[in-house]
Symmetry: C2
């Protein structure tokens, strides 16, 4: 474990964060960092990823550690490296060195944690070794697959309210993630003319992330089949008429995420049908970002995207009818079947481990509507919130070939006209947008998104 | 899930494998594939890695599946993709299509598995969701952290004996892994002169692996601090006098692993001290490979490496005394504190999920000796076994600064002379070697290892 040198004091930032928590929660809070998850055998684990709530209040990705927060005080529980771990893993900072770095008031070995659990609340960590330990120590089930319950629910609500808007230290990290993500996309575009397979473009993009000593914040999507929304295959050959959709994001060493999507023509030149649809998606993207400001409902941003897409498809002759009416009957979801975006922070879908607790304003629930049910965020926007804006257009066979869907939307879709757009299987445009007092700031603005510039970046 | 087209029939290969198992085990065998492990929230998992025993007998990395083997018959249990999974993940092959591909006699939905568990033996899968399910269905603990017990132990022994030597289909995959691993190392060497950080060389190497649509078979080591044996940090700058140690391997889509280490000078030119030690390690490497043939004890290969290293260090004046005697007193382990290698197959330490069951001949146990305790393989070699040969030289502060160690070896080490080799912190050379009827075949022989050629590959 490397202790990074930060320009502003990590300890000061963490002190402010836990003061906010102390104002909301009177119980002692214990947060575990988690441990490695094994891959095919215990000594061959996946790379360690610390629990995000721990990271937020402890600041460093320490494996096998816990922190206890009470009344603004920070207690660190972790073991000093063993002599054999020094042999295999080198000299590591001691517990006391780390305690000093993060401004802990006390540092104790992990075995003492059991003496400090009375009345403590917690949140479940993802790996089984740790949630088992949490459950045993606290003598109640603490399960990552179930939403927080009882006294833990109050903690979840308090942390969600704090993490919902980002402080300066978080924004510094998020800007780093955004910058490397932007570079990865530029390199991906430039690598496309020489690439024969999706995997080769993925390699170029992830290479940038690895070279910056970062990781991907989620499994990359790099595909000529953008109509498969969560496509994690990379074996398809690139054909000259294809669009390549790349949804790739970097995560900093401290765990903060970027999340960007661009779609570009493999040949470096959009066909006229591809360009027409691309510009519809871009218009939705730009309209949404222009509307972002404090007080605006995120659901209204989503509906704005739906409306702009519907308008564009009416203009292209794919839809027929009044755009507002098309959105009311969820016709947009035929081609845009997901939400306009989500919270972004330490998690790519920030705090999704808490279910909809962070994404949905208290008292609100997911809609049953085909065109709204996938919306991950439904709150009024506030300064300091970071959200993605990611409209798209997809021709998903499972939707468009569904007999019920076809009959319901028989009269609003010009299927004949649609067939002329067969070379547009999937387009998505996604940026990371910070809500500011004045409106918004696009953290990933350095990555162009207009069709002409994209063509130039791909080269020929 | 893509069904790959293989040149020889996957079904025929799998039939032979399970016939071997049927000859050894009369109980029905159920093997689970496992499921995704969550990263920071359930919808953001690590990439899926199927259990290796499942992979060996089912041939494809199918998530959330199980196979039942009895008397040479294969029954596949998995669910057809749901309509919503088709929306998000695209058209997937059906259960019946997969059953045909792998030559299953029967294919059933996962819910029917509970009707087929009577008298079944199994091996634990690593992820908690699956081993919990295994334990519940079989009504006994099936835990990945504990060695197989009771009737499962017989299964473990049978599978270990089968997987210990590789069939042609396995070797085809292992040669693919070796070829991409070799290319990754060549690209890493070539990328070094332009790189400022370890992470940049790592990116170049892993980029090759990703571009071939493969994954790394373990977390890469790419470090100028080779003396830290399991160094998974990549943040150090590259300095002209540094040696860079890269232990990086590719794993094919079907799960078969490569595992190669090279050590090269960042400047493209070994210092004379670095070259001297490099040639000692290379001499040990070459002597070990020359000695490999059926019937030879792997422990003797290890001791040969120890002896060649001791001889070389005597010649350089670092050791004083008789090499044979130095090895008997474990002096070699001062600088070579790990084993000469391990089994390689579907796992980088093949079948290490079974503890030492595969690595150690029945009745043998790990030695207590400082110079032997880390040996992962202790069996007579047989044709078809794939092993690594990976001698090294390291100046590990935790060993060399230990007062007990220094006093024990006070008279055999010329500490003054040793101090002249301060620019050699860690060197390792590792290749993947197949035991053949005639002797051996180095699957990774296309990657040079002599000092001059390495210098040329690094370029200037
Ligand atoms: Mn997103
Ligand atoms: Mn190895």
């Amino acid at each position: 474990m490397l202790i990074p040198q930060t320009s502003t004091s990590l300890a000061d930032c963490l002190r402010l964060r836990r003061q906010k928590l102390a104002n909301l929660i009177k119980f002692p809070v214990i947060l575990w960092s988690g441990t490695n998850s094994p891959r095919n055998f215990p000594a061959n684990p996946f790379p360690f990823r610390a629990n995000s709530h721990f990271l937020y209040f402890a600041g460093l990705p320490l494996p096998n550690a816990a922190i206890r927060l009470e009344g603004g005080k920070l207690e660190l529980f972790m073991d000093d490296p063993s002599p054999s771990s020094t042999l295999w893993h080198g000299e590591m900072p001691t517990r006391n060195e780390i305690a000093q770095k993060i401004g802990a008031d006390v540092a104790r070995p992990m075995t003492e944690l059991e003496s400090w659990i009375e009345d403590a609340v917690t949140l479940a960590v993802q790996d089984a070794a740790t949630w088992t330990q949490q459950s045993q120590l606290l003598n109640r089930w603490v399960l990552p697959q179930s939403p927080p319950q009882g006294i833990d629910l109050d903690l979840a609500k308090a942390i969600a309210s704090i993490r919902l808007t980002h402080d300066e230290a978080a924004l510094t990290e998020l800007r780093k993630a955004a910058a490397v993500t932007v570079e990865a996309h530029k390199v991906g575009m430039a690598a496309t003319p020489q690439a024969k397979l999706e995997a080769e473009v993925r390699a170029a993009m992830e290479g940038v992330i690895i070279a910056h000593n970062m990781t991907t914040s989620y499994n990359s999507i790099v595909t000529v089949h953008g109509e498969v929304l969560h496509n994690e295959h990379y074996h398809h050959p690139l054909q000259p008429g294809d669009l390549l959709l790349a949804d790739v994001g970097a995560e900093t060493e401290m765990g903060w995420a970027g999340d960007v999507t661009r779609t570009w023509p493999v040949s470096g030149k959009f066909s006229s049908t591809q360009r027409d649809i691309y510009n519809v998606v871009l218009a939705a993207h730009d309209a949404c970002i222009a509307k972002i400001q404090p007080g605006v409902e995120y659901e209204d941003i989503h509906l704005l995207a739906a409306t702009v897409i519907a308008e564009g498809l009416v203009e292209l002759g794919i839809f027929q009818g009044n755009p507002q009416y098309l959105v009311e009957m969820d016709a947009h979801a035929l081609f845009f079947p997901h939400g306009i975006g989500h919270l972004l922070g330490l998690d790519v879908h920030d705090m999704e481990d808490l279910g909809d607790l962070a994404g949905y304003e208290e008292g609100r629930k997911r809609s049953d509507r085909f065109g709204l049910s996938y919306l991950r965020l439904n709150r009024p926007l506030r300064p300091g919130m970071l959200v993605t804006i990611e409209p798209g257009f997809y021709q998903v066979p499972a939707i468009l070939n569904d007999a019920n869907v076809r009959s319901k939307y028989q009269n609003v879709v010009n299927w004949q006209r649609l067939s002329e757009f067969a070379d547009v299987r999937g387009i998505r445009l996604e940026d990371d947008v910070l809500v500011t007092a004045e409106g918004s700031e696009v953290l990933t603005a350095a990555l162009p998104n207009d069709a002409d510039t994209i063509e130039n970046l791909v080269g020929r």
